[in-house]
Amino acid sequence: MSTLAAVYTGKKNGARIGYALVALLLLMALFGPWLAPYDATLVSLDDRLLPASASHWLGTDHLGRDVLSRLIVGTQLSLGSVVLVLGLVLVLGVVIGGIAGIVGGKVDMFLMRLCDMFLTFPTLVLAFFLIALLGTGLTNVIIAIALSHWAWYARMVRGMVLAQRNRDYVLASRLAGASRLTRLRQHVMPNVVGQLLVLASMDIGHMMLHVSGLSFLGLGVSPPTPEWGVMINDAKEFIWTQPQLLLWPGLMIFISVMAFNLLGDALRDRLDPSVLAEIKE
């Protein structure tokens, strides 16, 4: 029925906004220092807490640094750390979940109990514990967040692998004489990874909040370096007098989370066969 196609085209606008915002964020992350009007770490005590003006579009912070420049330059760390976290989580999740689902038996049992151990603790508590072990700093925050999230992904991947293995097209491939390895490579894994990317893109926002949250607590990026969580942390003392200092980095986090969620929706529509099937008719 072409009616569902209508729903789809309506959604396309959301997808376009998502793509555009993500592209903009990437641009800021890659070329931040060149795009920023000022040096993001330049302290100028004479220009403290200036309101927005033609020379400082978003004003300055308590050390006289240009807020807009700090936002733009901060994109790289805020986004980059999330991409690293996600990369680590995906690799761990696919490898461990994939092995559990494919090999099965005792290996599956062992790996899943390992996952359960990690899933037992609230992610934030686990992250704190790992940071306490590893020490503070951005690298350790990334490792800690990745380690506290991989188990969830591993379980998802395992479930997807098990579900895929019994799909008709995998059986059809078996009847076509494809070996176990070929079936995994050509049918099971591509479809698992497709679904996983959709989930991951929706999870980016969540991870970003984690990284910023830990930076806000002073565990990740240390103060002079521009990063959105750090900026919020810096601004918290001026929450009553200069609330816009909290607002701008908060807004950036909000926009990024939204952008990646829209991107995730769009990816899902592209990759999910059930949605595709409905659009077709």
């Binding site: 029925m1 072409s2 009616t3 569902l4 209508a6 729903v7």
Partner: protein
């Protein structure tokens, strides 16, 4: 007693494309009106259009509904005068509520509760051939077969005291035995309860089995409207001839009693 339900000038559009074009249908109490056509001819959309349950993006324009000649609103009819039976019964039930809750909810809308409601539910389940009524009522949709769920759909329609039934491919997901029993039931209710039925199908065998009037649909338009005997003996439209040719090539040399 309501005797006729008339749909006039039902046009459904999505953007600029016309999906259903000026469809006119009249359902009479005590009769089965079959709406046939190939997949994609707009027959399912028509049934949704009658009750104004259209998918997003599809707009109805200019349609009017007449119940015994009186103009009525689709929202007034839905679930009361007119009930809908869908192809996939499993999706029509709330998976976490028992069938008893569904039945009670339907009666609640009519203001019936307590012992009276229980008795009516029991009698209605027997009427649609669900004799193991307590077990059925305690079940959830996923625990019952497709045939039983379709009977339950009918039972809910009867509980709502609907006079008209719109059935969209009600037997396409059932095997032939369950289909035959369902059609038997439908026919019995049409005769005993004087129900008016719009039966949407692509199977001329179903039409031959229980329809009185037939409308043939193609590309969103009704291309032929005739008495069932007239249609089978002298089809006028190309669409009807195609459907009948396929039907006859499967049944003519058959040895069905």
């Amino acid at each position: 007693m309501k005797q006729t339900l008339t749909i006039r000038d039902l046009t459904l559009k999505h953007r600029q494309r016309t999906l259903v074009d000026r469809v006119e249908l009249t359902l009479k109490a005590g009769q089965v009106h079959a709406l046939v056509g190939a997949s994609g001819s707009g027959k399912s959309l028509t049934s949704l259009g009658i009750l104004d349950l259209l998918p997003p993006g599809v707009h109805s324009s200019g349609a009017s509904l007449l119940l015994d000649g009186q103009a009525v609103d689709a929202a007034q009819l839905r679930g009361r005068q007119v009930a809908l039976v869908l192809q996939n019964p499993r999706s029509a039930f709330n998976p976490v509520r028992s069938l008893r809750q569904h039945a009670l909810e339907t009666l609640h809308a009519r203001g019936l509760q307590g012992v009276e409601a229980e008795q009516l539910i029991q009698a209605t389940l027997h009427e649609v051939g669900l004799h193991d009524d307590q077990r059925v009522l305690d079940s959830f949709a996923f625990q019952l077969s497709g045939g039983m769920l379709q009977r339950m759909m009918i039972a809910l329609a009867l509980l709502a005291d609907s006079r008209f039934l719109l059935a969209d491919e009600p037997t396409s997901d059932l095997d032939v035995v369950a289909q035959a029993r369902f059609l038997d039931l439908l026919q019995r209710l049409v005769e005993q309860r004087n129900l008016g039925v719009l039966l949407i199908t692509h199977d001329m065998g179903v039409v031959a089995r229980c329809a009185d009037q037939v409308s043939v649909m193609a590309h969103g338009r009704i291309v032929e409207q005739a008495d069932v005997h007239q249609l089978f003996n002298a089809p006028q439209s190309q669409e009807a001839r195609t459907l009948l040719a396929a039907h006859h090539s499967l049944t003519m040399e058959s040895c069905a009693p």
